[in-house]
């Protein structure tokens, strides 16, 4: 029985408002996700980037199903042919279909990029949040370890280690790349954890008796979700480029497997004379990384605006507040 039953009965029943129990009834549920999606869709570059990524994935996985040639098949009747109706992107010196190879390479690069992005962000959030929340020795040890990895030259170490996993699956390569990408985000996560730790809802959870790991997983990390999403997206782009670079020098993906890096490596010498060997792989690489960056930018604008900072040029969208509390 609410005490407000007594107060509303002293007033004219015809005018009895729902009183304090009436939460505002919005016409549509303005959840944060919906707001973010709306803002994202308003940014044409971000939408373009998103469509491009979807198109690339579709092309990379569906393309080989449509193409008559496999990536390792050699067509002995056509060596070094320019693009034609038969071979859409032309052929290499030994008759491999460049389209099939490029698609296969695209698959590999995209998957590696995606995995590295997700794993490195996941690792960064766990390490950063633990360091920030527990403080003391945990913080010192984890941050010392982070700083150590920051100092080590990633490229050299992967290059040195690569002969030892020649012949093993490319997942080892993914693990190594991820191991060298998470450090800076971990520091940022740690900083944000230190701020969030002082927020009253975290104090409330602590005084309720909620164990530390549950507080981190349920309260601290979800409130950093915007940062983590943006970071993961941008890490994907960086990972694709890193993988390409390493594969170019022969340290990443090993033959007979192809990636955009290996394709670019084999096509560099003939870039001017037989451009189709080089241009398609390079072009797809640029499109992939550019689209990922556009999406990352778009996400950052969409997420940041709802967290309160409206940009000056954004006339239409100052930070929305709860319905019922005006400017």
């Amino acid at each position: 029985m609410s005490i407000f039953a007594t107060s509303s009965s002293t007033r004219d029943p015809a005018t009895a408002a729902p009183g304090v129990s009436g939460a505002p009834e919005p016409e549509e549920q303005t959840t944060r996700t919906r707001l973010v999606v709306r803002r994202f869709l308003r940014n044409w570059q971000a939408v373009f980037g998103l469509c491009a990524i979807v198109a690339l994935f579709a092309l990379a996985y569906l393309g080989p199903l449509v193409s008559p040639w496999g990536y390792a098949e050699s067509d002995y009747t056509a060596f070094l042919q320019p693009p034609s109706a038969d071979h859409w992107f032309g052929t290499t010196q030994i008759g491999n279909d460049v389209f099939a190879q490029t698609m296969r390479g695209l698959q590999k690069s995209l998957v590696i990029g995606l995995l590295v992005g997700v794993i490195s962000t996941g690792l960064a959030s766990v390490v950063g949040a633990a360091a920030g929340y527990f403080g003391g020795w945990t913080d010192r040890i984890l941050m010392w370890f982070t700083d150590l990895l920051l100092v080590l030259p990633a490229f050299l170490i992967i290059a040195i280690l690569s002969p030892s996993f020649r012949g093993k699956t490319w997942l080892v390569f993914v693990a190594l790349l991820a191991a060298f990408t998470w450090m800076i985000t971990a520091r940022i996560v740690r900083g944000m954890t230190l701020t969030l730790k002082e927020r009253e809802f975290v104090t409330a959870a602590r005084f309720m008796g909620v164990p530390a790991w549950r507080i981190i997983a349920r309260h601290i990390l979800p409130n950093m979700a915007s940062l983590l999403i943006i970071d993961a997206t941008i890490a994907v782009g960086g990972a694709i480029l890193a993988e390409t670079g390493l594969s170019y020098f022969g340290f990443g993906v090993q033959p007979p497997d192809v990636s955009l890096g290996t394709l670019i490596a084999s096509g560099t010498d003939s870039a001017i004379t037989f451009p189709w060997l080089f241009l398609f792989a390079a072009g797809f690489l640029i499109v992939a990384v550019l689209s990922v960056n556009l999406v990352g930018d778009g996400l950052r604008d969409a997420l940041d605006a709802t967290s309160g900072r409206a940009s000056k040029a954004d006339e239409d969208d100052p930070a929305p507040g709860p319905v019922g509390v005006a400017a």
Binding site: I3, F4, P18, M208, G209, P211, P322, V323, V325
Partner: protein, 704 residues
Amino acid sequence: MSLIDPVFDRADSRAGEAVLRVTDLTVSFPSEQGRVQAVRQLSYQVDAGEVLGIVGESGSGKSVSSMAVMGLLPPQAKVSGSVRFRDTELLGKPDSELSRIRGRNVAMIFQDPLSALTPVYTVGDQVSEALLAHGKGRLTKQAAARRAIELLDLVGIPNATSRFKAFPHEFSGGMRQRVVIAMAIANDPDLIIADEPTTALDVTVQAQVLEVLRTAQEVTGAGIVMITHDLGVVAGFADRVMVMYAGRAVETGAVDEIFTRPRMPYTLGLLGSIPRVDATGRQALVPIEGQPPSLAGLAPGCPFAPRCPLVVPVCEEVEPDLEEVRGLVGHRAACHRSEELGDPDPAGVFGVPEPTVRSTAAPRGRRPAVLTVDGLAKRYDIIKGAVLRRRVGSVHAVDGISFEIREGEILGLVGESGCGKTSALLEILSFTTPSRGRVEVLGRNVATLDRTTRKRLRRDVQVVFQDPIASLDPRMPIADILAEPLSTHRVPKEEIRRRVPELLRLVGLRPEHASRYPAEFSGGQRQRIGIARALALEPKLLVLDEPVSALDVSIRAGVINLLDDLRARLGLAYLFVAHDLSVVRHIADRVAVMYLGKIVEVGDVDDVFGAPQHPYTQALLSAIPIPDPVKERARERILLTGDLPSPADPPSGCRFRSRCFRYAALSESERDLCEQQEPPRERHGNSSDGHEAACHYAQVHTVL
């Protein structure tokens, strides 16, 4: 003083003329929900030498209207209407011309003095800058510096010559606000707009700053527009009052008229909903149902209609104009039924919930103790050095406090910022062995607890925090927030599913809203959710850290009534930490006053408020503004001198002696006692049992 007179115009030569005339001011902003009409056809006038108090809650448009007058709104805002400062029309002027008027003829004082002052320049430089910006070759830098020192002296900054070179962060909040006032009056303005200048300050500091504003007004003869939500401040300071609601003025008039005979139900409701520090007896506060309307897409008719007890059909169709009430000169109200508002008793018009009878089973002495604190101290070490860290000193944020809370009792712990009440709270709640002293919760010493017992004990002590926005995780729906304490303590899922709607109903919310997110609720509702979460585990002691200070005035009454009702029904004990003594007077049984980490006075509420013994309590009570203009103007004010001493280096003996007016009136030999011996907390004279004060020369002095 000789340099001051020629620069400031004679105050009386300009009295009576209209300095500012605002006509039909309309401001709108774009937003996600459409155009927000923040200010709608606002008209008012300020004469020279007069103080106009603009009262309103959040969303009423009071700050926006003043920013529009100064031309400080962002470019997205659409402003129309007329703002005449003396004979010049301000609206539509380019920023360069407005810059010549701003700071010289019209000055503004903002709410937060820390952000109003640039941190990298000295205070003296900033005051000189205010002078030089409009001096235009007339003033040399040295002359400006000299004038700045005079101004700092005028506003009451001690040692102005040496403080001239200090930085803003070296000042306390009250001192910073004085510097801002010095900057505002530097060029002898005709109009000073003060936007909630004392909201961020403690009560005693507020009293000092209001004094400074009065001096500023006398010296410059300017008209002052004082924007605030605190009706007590308005009662003591303003000559005329304008009440704003949903972007327009709903009542204007002389301050005495408005407070004794309000003609608009909103004003009446506001007056009835504020707890008064001089109120005796136990009546429930008169809450105003509902919350202020969203200014995007207002419905036709009076915006107050959904919350008004006197609403009739015409109210929902036609918005009333601000018209003179028949029979009263100069008193205007925007209400269709303003003449019928004969009964000035808010309880009669709005209806007040019956105060739930408190089932006091046994007298205090026989009830079990829920919380016992004995000599609690919390020490923070000051550590210097990065590599070789060493302790160079310590701050005793809490330095030996003792109190006891019995079952079903409310203890109010009051004090200003820096007194250590929040540190005491956190120390008690952490359930760890304190630096010194003993904490017993429900009879168990927290130093002897192991982890499982500690977790189990947490069920019995729960917390409600100050900031309703920050205390709820914005990413969890309400149902999850309420379920969290239950699931942490292994309550089965069906039980949780049953309990969550029950909790929502207990605090006056609708159970259907359980799937919504905190952002979709108003401040008052969020605080109710916080209270519901604290009650989920059926605790015996509820610790509340300033639960209503972040809420709007008209919402506070509802939450305070709720807390009162819950206490009576569930037999809870509260530890109520607050700096707002009016709320404490209303709801608490006993009160303990803290100063610099020590409790200086403790006792039953009526004893301490009615017959305070310690000089700090007396000063505190005299500084609290009462929303009654006649009483407020006739009151004796005890102003404390100086600033709060640094807790790292408190005065020897009695900590309050550096600011104590009683100490200042003592003879040399009597002062020795205060300097050398810390006064013990004890009963004095024939005060009632349980009323103790820590003062060597305690004397009752009624200030309310």
